[in-house]
Structure formats: structure tokens, C-alpha cells
């Protein structure tokens, strides 16, 4: 209890930063769920590929130790690389794992199985990435990139955590500020996009009623593809921010983060964009408070208990399922 009171603002701000990352990944879950009524179990791998893309690009550019404008440029480049890679993986995922099922009108459980399969394939492929290069004899040359595939891969030393200003006794760092500001920018852009653009309207229309939307001339397949790509972009951004905060990634980095992000999406009301954002922040902060109260080893338990309690009292999450219709 003491811990919670003394470090209240520190816990809140660090909770918000990790919550922002949850929220960005949760957007991907919620968007896909909104239009397809499907838990995209492999979205965590979309995130993971983004994080590797950022690490590799920054490694290749020898970004370590850059300062000033160069640093800003590298951060942006890393972010763009992550977004591009994640979007690409999400795009391929939809094409290979989900579109064939949609054509066959498969029941939801089958789609979930395909998603689980895709998730295994993606993360194991990353975990075995040394193999094909070893066959080509390139493994020694590329050791930094593909060596020790099941271990942590660090982000080149780029941004050193520095105290910026004091906020009620907690020294807010540059990393905290970068994460929160960029996450909020991405969220606002997405929100405006879905609300105002023509494509965004398409997404909402399909989410509301896929059949009527199709009758009204909305290209169903294009909207779904777009949804996956947008989810991928958000996950890529989240991956870059995650690297700044955590510093390393690995082939199964997406797993727990994916579950947390999905929890955040459900917490806010799956299918509901603003719900995902709220869910992410609430989860991040609650986790921190909880671990201050009962010990940090119970952090994940706190997250899941929170989810279960909320679902029991509000079965459709904090904000309800508004992107689409409520299910019967």
C-alpha cells in the first residue's frame, strides 16, 4: 500500500506508457474483430515481425550512438520499417490464412484454428531463421541478424533514457514522453481516418452489416485487407515503441504482449476502437497499481483477474461493442 502511495505518479506514468503499447496492438485485434468477428490470434506475430524489422534496419544503418537530427531520423526510420514489415505480414496473413476460409464460409472456430496455426508458423519461422542462411553458408556473415535465433535480440543503443522533468516526484524520461506522444498521434490519426475518410466509412459499414454493405457497393474484400493492413501499421508502431521501452525482442515476444493487448481490447469492448484505447491504458495502469499492492510477480494475474471481473459485470466490456452490432 505504501508503495502505491509513494510511487503513485511513477506507477501511473509508466503504466500509461506500457498501456499505450497495449492499446496500439489492441487496435489491430479490435479492427479485425469488428469486421470479421474473428480473434486474429496471429496478430501478436505481426507485432513481433515489426520489432525485428526495426532492429535489423537500425543495425544495418549502424544507428547506434547517433545524436540530434540523426537520432530523430533513425527513430522515424525504425518506426517506418516496423510499420511496413508489420503491415506486410498482416497483409500476407489475411491472404493465406483467412481469405481461403472466408471463401468457404468456414465456422468461426475453424478460423481461430487457422489463426493459431499461422501464429505458430510465423513465430517458429522467426525462431528458426538461422537454418536457411546456414544452408546458404551465410550464417557467419549475418550472425548479428540471424544468429542465436531463440535468444533476445537487442535494439542498437540509440536512445538513452534521460530525466526530462519532475512530475510529482517522478522523473519523467524522454522515452516516456516519446512513447506517449507518438502513440497518441497514431491513435488520433486512426480515429479521424475511420471517422472521416471514405475507406473508414467502408470499414464501419462492413462492421455494422457486411451483407448490406456489399449490396451498397462496398468492396468487402478490400475493406478486410485494409483493416488488416491498418492493424499491422498500428502494431508496427507499437513494436518500435516497445523496443524503446524494453530494449530487446525475440521470436516469441509477441505472445504475452498479444494476450495482454487482446485483453485490453476485450476490456474496452471488442470491436470498439475507443474501447481498445481505453482498455489499453486501464490495463497498463491497473497492472502497475496491482503489482505495487500485491507484488510484481502477480502482475499478469492482476491483468487477467481484472479482465474476468469486468466481463462478469459488463459482459461486453467497458464501452460495449460499438464498431459493429451487439451479438445476439
Amino acid at each position: 500500500m505504501n508503495l502505491l502511495i509513494h510511487h503513485f505518479w511513477e506507477l501511473t506514468i509508466t503504466g500509461l506508457t506500457i498501456g499505450a503499447i497495449y492499446a496500439l496492438v489492441a487496435l489491430g485485434y479490435t479492427l479485425v474483430y469488428g469486421v470479421l468477428r474473428l480473434i486474429n490470434f496471429a496478430h501478436s506475430e505481426v507485432f513481433m515481425y515489426g520489432s525485428f524489422a526495426a532492429v535489423w534496419v537500425l543495425m544495418a544503418l549502424n544507428a547506434a550512438g547517433a545524436t540530434g537530427l540523426g537520432l530523430v531520423g533513425f527513430l522515424l526510420l525504425g518506426g517506418i520499417a516496423a510499420m511496413a514489415a508489420s503491415a506486410l505480414v498482416a497483409f500476407i496473413l489475411e491472404l493465406v490464412a483467412y481469405r481461403p476460409l472466408r471463401k468457404r464460409n468456414s465456422p468461426p472456430l475453424i478460423a481461430l484454428i487457422s489463426a493459431i496455426g499461422a501464429s505458430f508458423v510465423l513465430s517458429e519461422a522467426m525462431g528458426l531463421r538461422d537454418k536457411p542462411f546456414a544452408w546458404l553458408g551465410l550464417d557467419a556473415k549475418l550472425a548479428d541478424y540471424v544468429g542465436r535465433p531463440r535468444e533476445n535480440t537487442p535494439l542498437p543503443a540509440l536512445l538513452h533514457s534521460q530525466k526530462l522533468f519532475n512530475f510529482f516526484g517522478y522523473n519523467v524520461t524522454n522515452v516516456d514522453v516519446i512513447i506517449l506522444v507518438s502513440a497518441i498521434i497514431m491513435m488520433v490519426v486512426l480515429d479521424q481516418f475511420v471517422r472521416r475518410s471514405r475507406l473508414g466509412r467502408g470499414i464501419r459499414a462492413v462492421a455494422m452489416d457486411a451483407e448490406s454493405a456489399a449490396l451498397m457497393g462496398v468492396n468487402h474484400n478490400r475493406v478486410i485487407r485494409l483493416t488488416f493492413v491498418i492493424g499491422g501499421i498500428m502494431a508496427g508502431g507499437a513494436a518500435m515503441l516497445y523496443l524503446l521501452k524494453i530494449g530487446v525482442t525475440r521470436y516469441n515476444a509477441g505472445f504475452i504482449l498479444g494476450i495482454k493487448a487482446f485483453t485490453a481490447a476485450v476490456l474496452g469492448g471488442i470491436g470498439n476502437l475507443r474501447g481498445a484505447l481505453l482498455g489499453g491504458f486501464v490495463l497498463g495502469v491497473a497492472e502497475n497499481y496491482g503489482s505495487a499492492l500485491v507484488g510484481s510477480q502477480w502482475k499478469d494475474v492482476v491483468a487477467f483477474v481484472l479482465l474476468i471481473v469486468i466481463l462478469l459485470f459488463r459482459p461486453t466490456g467497458l464501452l460495449g461493442e460499438s464498431l459493429g452490432k451487439a451479438r445476439a
Partner: protein, 383 residues
């Protein structure tokens, strides 16, 4: 209609046509062969790189898991992604009662473990079974993970180190059974490698395999009794359309809870079996990835078909052990298999028999389910 089912079906029909005594004799022969597998060590089937009897034990134990989860997913239609939690509760109940905090014999530990998991099933199910579909999946996933984290963080349960010295089943040395060994396809009797009937020891997994197979056969029979009764029908009706079932007089919540508790009890039994064979258990044996593996067994096998899920469990455990050179890539291949299955054979390897029968009559009559107007209309439900 399909490359996989067509030969299977003709085998089944030919089998049905046999006279009764021949049928029974055939069944007895198959059961005997199953029991003797680790003694015979048949070439092509046996595993070179790991102890064949242990692999067979794993196959039987995971079959039991699959049968239990099939009740929850296949019959009652409740997507449980945290089934490994019950498996863990069963294993740790045996650990706590048999080693960590009491030295009770296994004969008492196992029924106690079943009761404990059943109660935990009811406790977890009562609040969560009110949420539906996908939410249930994530809530059970959360529960599975909570159970594991509680194990890791509770020193009373051994913490991350787990529990060791879990008791073996009572042994009784009656006679020795020699194994067979093979050179090419010629069999020799290997008198130096013998299995003591019936001594459970760390060095010989064969008696454990026999125990596991016996339990699987009993549970399969119980499963059949349940499914072919009001209980099984109520589960299926609930799975098909919960609202309609409720309005037809099915107390759906009560039956969902029953499915959850029954599934949990079987999961707990398999966990107990796992614990006694392993002697030593720790929380790492119970990560979420196992839950996913269990769900895959049920779906690959064909939800609702007990033989299908057993086949799938055996295949998913045996294949990576047999082809050890693949073991690095086993989860990669496993993922590909799941995707391929979802796309090309969504009903699983062996869909429920009733469905097959109906498919056949549908083929005969030329009735196509997809053109059926009732099928389309169902999408716009009014209640």
C-alpha cells in the same frame, strides 16, 4: 467424396457386415495388440531416438486429455483455451497430497485429484460460463495462465522448482515379460530386456503405458454412455443453438457447467497420470502452448468424435517423436498442418459419425446443405 474418408468408410462398412463373433474377436485382437505395442516394438512405428514405451505413454495420456476436452469443445461447444489449467491442478493435487505435504498413497491421491479439479471446474465455470463464445475463450485462457502463475508464485506449491518425488502406483511383481527386438523385419525375442509385470519404476515406462491405456479405454466407455443419453443430447442442443435449447426446456447453464466439470475431472485425471509418471513436476510443464496443443487435437481429430480426437492426439504426439530430425521444426510444421487442415478439411480428420451418415443420405438424395433455405434464414435470428 473425399480421399481421406472414402477408404475409411468402406472399411467401416465392411467391418459392420462381419458376423458378430468375428467382430468381437477382431476388437479383442486390436486391444491386445495395443497393449503389446511396447513389447513388440514394431519396426516403422517404434521410435529410435526416444524410449518407445514413454512415447506410447504420452500418446495415451494426451488421448485422455483430448477425450476430456472433446466433451467441453466438441459436445458442449465451449471453446476452452485454458484446459491446461485443469491438467495442472490434477498434477499438483497429486504432488501436494502424495509428496509435498502428505505422503498419501497414489490410490487415494488420484481420486482426490479428480475431485479437486472437478470442484475447480465448477468454481471457474459458474461465473464465466455466462459469457459467450469468444469471450469465454479469452477468459479461460486467462484462467489457465492464472493457475500457472499461482503455481510459480506460491512456495507452498513448490514455486518455480515444482514438486518432486511423486509416488508411483502400487507395484506387484508377478512375472517377467520379454521384449522383442528387430533386425530389419525379422523379430527376435530379447530375453535381457524384460518388463516386470507389474512394477512401476522410473526405468521402465511399459507398466505406466498399460495403466494409461486401461484408463483411456474406461473413460472412452464412460464418454459413450454420457453422449448417448439425455446429457449428451442436451450438450449438443446447447452447442447448436443455446436460446432455442433453453426454450425447448434444456437448462443450458446447468449442462454447460456439467460439461465443464466433467471435462475438468478428466483433465485432472490425466494430470495425475502425468505427475506419477514424471515423478517431478514444475509449472513449466503447464504453459499456455499446451492448451493450444490440446485444442488443436480436438479440432484436428474432428470435434465431437471421440475416435477422431484420440487419433489426432496420438498423431500429434507420435509424429514429432518418430521424426526427430524434424523436432526443431515440429511446431512450424504443426502450425502449417493446422492451417492446411482449416482450409482443406475443416471438419477434422474424422468428423462425427452421425454427420457422415447424414452426408451419405444427403448425397443419395442430392440435397445440398448450402442451397437449403433454412440454412440461410438462420442467420437472421429473432430472439
Amino acid at each position: 467424396m473425399n480421399a481421406v474418408t472414402a477408404p475409411l468408410r468402406s472399411v467401416r462398412e465392411r467391418f459392420r457386415a462381419l458376423p458378430r463373433p468375428v467382430k468381437y474377436l477382431f476388437i479383442v485382437a486390436v486391444v491386445v495388440i495395443i497393449y503389446l505395442l511396447p513389447i513388440i516394438n514394431p519396426p516403422l512405428i517404434t521410435t529410435q531416438d526416444s524410449d518407445f514405451a514413454s512415447v506410447l505413454f504420452s500418446c495415451a495420456m494426451y488421448s485422455l486429455v483430448a477425450i476430456g476436452l472433446n466433451i467441453v469443445i466438441g459436445y458442449a461447444g465451449l471453446l476452452d483455451l485454458g484446459y491446461v489449467g485443469f491438467f495442472a491442478v490434477g498434477a499438483f493435487s497429486v504432488g501436494v497430497l502424495g509428496s509435498a505435504h502428505a505422503k498419501l498413497p497414489l490410490i487415494i491421491c488420484v481420486p482426490a485429484a479428480i475431485v479437486v479439479t472437478m470442484i475447480s471446474g465448477v468454481l471457474l465455470g459458474a461465473p464465466t460460463l455466462r459469457v459467450r463464445g469468444d469471450y469465454l475463450a479469452i477468459v479461460t485462457l486467462g484462467f489457465g495462465e492464472i493457475i500457472r502463475l499461482v503455481l510459480v508464485n506460491t512456495s507452498w506449491l513448490g514455486g518455480p522448482r515444482g514438486i518432486s518425488n511423486i509416488p508411483a502406483p502400487p507395484s506387484l511383481h508377478l512375472f517377467d515379460v520379454p521384449h522383442m527386438s528387430w533386425e530389419g523385419f525379422t523379430a527376435y525375442l530379447d530375453l535381457t530386456t524384460t518388463t516386470k509385470f507389474l512394477v512401476f519404476s522410473v526405468t521402465d515406462a511399459v507398466p505406466y503405458y498399460w495403466l494409461a491405456v486401461t484408463i483411456v479405454l474406461i473413460v472412452l466407455f464412460l464418454d459413450w454412455l454420457m453422449q448417448n443419453s439425455r446429457v449428451g443430447r442436451s450438450w449438443e442442443a446447447t452447442r447448436e443453438d443455446e436460446d432455442a435449447a433453453e426454450l425447448m426446456g434444456v437448462p443450458t447453464f446447468r449442462f454447460k457447467l456439467l460439461a465443464f466439470a466433467t471435462g475438468a475431472a478428466i483433465g485432472g485425471l490425466s494430470g495425475a497420470l502425468f505427475a506419477t509418471k514424471q515423478v517431478f513436476i514444475n509449472p513449466d510443464n503447464f504453459t499456455i502452448i499446451y492448451s493450444v496443443l490440446f485444442v488443436a487435437m480436438v479440432v484436428v481429430g474432428g470435434q465431437g468424435n471421440r475416435w477422431g480426437v484420440v487419433t489426432a492426439a496420438v498423431l500429434l504426439i507420435w509424429l514429432p517423436e518418430k521424426f526427430r530430425f524434424l523436432s526443431d521444426a515440429r511446431f512450424l510444421l504443426f502450425g502449417m498442418a493446422l492451417m492446411a487442415l482449416a482450409i482443406f478439411r475443416p471438419q477434422g480428420l474424422l468428423p462425427p459419425r452421425r454427420r457422415l451418415r447424414a452426408q451419405r443420405s444427403a448425397e443419395r438424395e442430392g440435397v445440398n446443405a448450402e442451397e437449403d433455405p433454412g440454412h440461410i434464414e438462420r442467420e437472421v435470428a429473432d430472439v
